[in-house]
């Protein structure tokens, strides 16, 4: 997943906008979805996505292929998304707006499936809202994006054991949250 031909990267690094668009098309869904899940609103997710690709555009020439290109993009995505989230919290604009995602779904209309979807989104955002951004990032990369422990470790530049422990703590937090809700 997310493999891109070296020739396209080379052309993109030389300023070829058509090649850069191919890079964008290959990664935009990943970047947007991760940004959305960490920031929990689509406006911030759009801003983060644009920031990520402008960083890729400016730094592509200097990318020396010491790591896989996709790992580099994953890292920029998570760092930019977490920074945006922290800025939102500082500005007290930390808003949870799960309706935005429903509007973005193709062919969205009133239906039972959409209601269930909406309920799921509400539940998901409640759960993710209970986590710190670092734990949230690990959980999103693992559960939603399907990255392995190695890939997550490489993306976040942390040891695999740290990935493991963050996932454990995130899941413990979700369990406690779920039990607390059940008692209400």
């Amino acid at each position: 997943m997310h493999d891109i031909a070296p020739e396209i990267l080379k052309r993109a690094s030389q300023g070829d906008i058509a090649a850069f668009e191919e890079v964008y098309r290959a990664f935009s869904s990943f970047v947007f979805n991760v940004a959305f899940r960490i920031n929990q609103n689509s406006a911030d997710a759009e801003e983060v996505t644009q920031d990520v690709f402008m960083k890729v555009y400016h730094n592509l020439k200097g990318f020396q292929f010491r790591s896989a290109f996709k790992t580099w993009v994953y890292r920029i995505t998570v760092n930019t998304a977490i920074n945006r989230y922290r800025k939102s919290v500082r500005e007290e604009h930390g808003r949870v707006n799960y309706d935005n995602l429903i509007e973005l779904l193709p062919g969205a209309s009133s239906s039972a499936a959409d209601v269930i979807e909406s309920d799921n989104e509400a539940r998901l955002n409640t759960l993710l809202g209970a986590l710190s951004p670092e734990y949230k990032a690990c959980l999103v990369l693992r559960e939603i994006e399907g990255l392995s422990y190695q890939e997550i470790a490489a993306s976040l530049k942390i040891p695999v054991n740290t990935v493991r422990s963050r996932l454990k703590r995130a899941r413990q937090a979700l369990l406690e949250h779920g039990r607390a809700e059940a008692e209400i």
């Binding site: 779904l105 799921n120 392995s148 899941r171």
Partner: protein, 159 residues
């Protein structure tokens, strides 16, 4: 295997399928006999459902349009900046001497025009005039000695 170890695995490697087959088998054997650990596993599977059902969407089209626009604006700014830098560089080196250079250039051009113009414009006119006069003279005098009417100043001098 004890419950603490199993629960550790349940919260991470077991749930994420990052576990080897031997360890998976031993964990499964423990879950078969331990109700507390089995309940924890079920609870964890329940809690992860919203995450697993989370839809993935395409990034809105306007994001790429914004990126393209931002790149185009940056390139225009870079071009304007490099043009300004070049102009400044030239002005720093030429502006003080410009009046002298301009005057020298104008004088040189005028001189060239004068010299070339004299040769190209006035000489042909003189030659045409002489030829015309000679022809008229021949017709008037009907003289065979044409040379007498075509004498040049040099011939006059020597003859």
């Amino acid at each position: 295997m004890n419950c603490k170890k199993i629960q550790d695995l349940l919260l991470s490697d077991y749930l994420d399928d990052e576990i080897g087959s031997s360890l998976r088998r031993r964990s499964q054997e423990h879950l078969d006999i331990c109700e507390a650990c089995r309940k924890l596993e079920q609870e964890l599977q329940r809690v992860r459902i919203p995450l697993q059902k989370a839809p993935r969407v395409e990034a809105p089209a306007r994001i790429w349009q914004n990126i393209r626009q931002q790149i185009a604006e940056e390139r225009q700014r870079e071009f304007r900046l490099s043009w300004e830098n070049m102009k400044n560089w030239l002005e720093e080196r030429i502006v003080i001497r410009r009046p002298v250079f301009a005057l020298a250039t104008v004088m040189a051009v005028l001189l060239i025009v004068f010299v070339l113009g004299r040769n190209m414009v006035f000489r042909p006119y003189d030659e045409a005039r002489y030829a015309g006069e000679a022809f008229t003279s021949i017709l008037d005098n009907q003289d065979d000695t044409i040379a007498a009417n075509l004498e040049t100043s040099i011939e006059k001098y020597f003859l």
